[in-house]
Symmetry: C2
Subunit: 394 residues, 2 copies
Amino acid sequence: MSLNISAPIGVLAPLLVRAKGIADPRAANPLLGCVLLNADHDGVLTVSATGGSLALTQRVALGTAGNGGGVSDTGSAAVDAARLALVVGGLSGDTVALRLTGKTGKGIVEVKAGGSRYSLSAAEADDYPPIGGEIPAVARAVADVSTTIRGGDLARMLRETLFSVCTDENRYGLNGLLIEAAPAGDDGMPRLRIVSTDGSRLSWSEGPASEAVTLDGRKSLISRAFAAKLESLISGPDQEWTLTIGQRWISARCGDVELGGVLVEGEFPDYRMIMPAAPKRIATVNGPVLAGALKRASLMASDRNSSVRIAFAEGGLTVSAQDVKAGSVVEELAGELQGSPLSTGFNASYLLNVLSSTRAESVRLELGEPLEPVIVRVDGRTDAVFVVMPMRLD
Amino acid sequence: MSLNISAPIGVLAPLLVRAKGIADPRAANPLLGCVLLNADHDGVLTVSATGGSLALTQRVALGTAGNGGGVSDTGSAAVDAARLALVVGGLSGDTVALRLTGKTGKGIVEVKAGGSRYSLSAAEADDYPPIGGEIPAVARAVADVSTTIRGGDLARMLRETLFSVCTDENRYGLNGLLIEAAPAGDDGMPRLRIVSTDGSRLSWSEGPASEAVTLDGRKSLISRAFAAKLESLISGPDQEWTLTIGQRWISARCGDVELGGVLVEGEFPDYRMIMPAAPKRIATVNGPVLAGALKRASLMASDRNSSVRIAFAEGGLTVSAQDVKAGSVVEELAGELQGSPLSTGFNASYLLNVLSSTRAESVRLELGEPLEPVIVRVDGRTDAVFVVMPMRLD
């Protein structure tokens, strides 16, 4: 048994690029920088990679050579993931042949296509760390829970929450995205919710789950890396993604692609506590117009936080910023205000993140007193809520 | 007199972006980080910038306010080039108004468009270093020489020589591109030649000059920065660019845009000495196929020089590379050889630079002995010659 396959370059190359994105060439264990190829008796090639806390498994049916397919000999090989992705991605022609020579599991992987013939050093495949093996085994000691969700909804929920995950690894409980069951919608459909916060802002986004959600009140924290990678793997709005959550592990599977990740430990804050009560003021403003004004005002903001002042009045909004040396800017824009005028400071990028991730045509800002949390909602949507803390400007 | 103009944003914004590319915000003199705006009585706005050794002057006719044009009041203002380019580039609407307030030449430049109102700190315009002023005055003490050349030819000649300019500022005479008159072509048309070398390779590219060249045997060295900026300013093959060369200064002018640059001092080597005599071997190979093989082989080259071995034989070429740890690659490709077989080392990127800058469909390599210079020509073209030194591979 020694891996010997041929595969369409157009099929194999994207699998290798994704595996390269998971492998960790800087890990202490050099095998984590490798992609693992395994061809089985059913003619299925499995392309896997793990970077420690993430694991990706991709399967593709090549068929057995006996039936005219691509798997001539079964076996495994581990090769530097980045190099193999570059090598296969750069080949010309339609088909690439890969063959392991030398003793089983180690030696040389020959890559041939057209006039190209590579000999790549292989690592000991038997030593390759288990892909979604060890940790899920522990996790599966307790009942897994799962749900299924459309690709379009899942991608939107991830996009609307990823930007506000805490990036400080030491902020216990904040450096993950909460994933939990939300109350069923008006249509009776089960719903899933993702929430993130970095202490200065919070994002909450929901979507319908297309099958019964059995999360049993479980609150799980997925890592930023898992969420970002999952978002990048979603390739169509109508894909069906199944999320299976164990005690320490989550897997997201769609067809022949499965991404696994270690759950983040810690207690997510009780985010409902943060949500302000009935607002004293409600401002409504066009999303792209506000985004344009915030971007232009940020050009004159003197600090890294893009501090701007927003004055809400009956006739509209005024966004302003100043830099002692460079000068100042005032942006006037239309808007509606219910309640008395208010002026407060904002980190412009916090609001811009909300506007760009939601692509909102119209947003509603629910305001309290100057330094109280502000709720941003997308007009016409009840499935996304954003909380932004104002800034004190001196 | 205090600058007061309005201009179409779509006209002004690209001029400011180009000026930003010339200004030097890190210069000791903070004015070199500014763009200079000047509106005159004829309704012409001049947008200038200088980074010390380069100077850009762009003119646009806005018309005088009395005749319905954009210049309401004449005057000058100097503003941070990067910031003004960002500010004007980010505005919405069609027209922007700029007005200098405060005392002449210094104060605040107000920028207004739609609901946006910026107040930008201005520098003392009177202190702005002369744009193409001082140095050309010296240069014009001797007779200037000039020539005119089509944009398409000039862009090609710059592209085919820029990559091999020496980047070591201490290599006296090599860190510039030689520009000189070439012998008239078979059609009797005067020609211009640009040559560059970094000691390991040499590029030589010619083009027809559309008017009489009066370079009088002058050999001038233009800086890499001037050549690169000039290439980026050329926006169409049929533009007419006039090059005027003084003793220490060169200017390239096309319509309302003029780029000036300080000439590089030093003696360019007698490059004809480097050119080998009649070749012992001539190999002909498809350009894109060779480029593909070199790129794929470079993936396994172990050093920063992308060292590859090329074996030339009657039946074709073999490109190979190896890395002690990663493995090896052999690329076989078709090609023709006149003369006996030869195998020698190359820096793959040197050959790739030639292939990509010439976009050659077919190239001819004129070979001597293994470590003798190799001449690369584009099949069917006599106006470009490239010399590449082979490498000793151990």
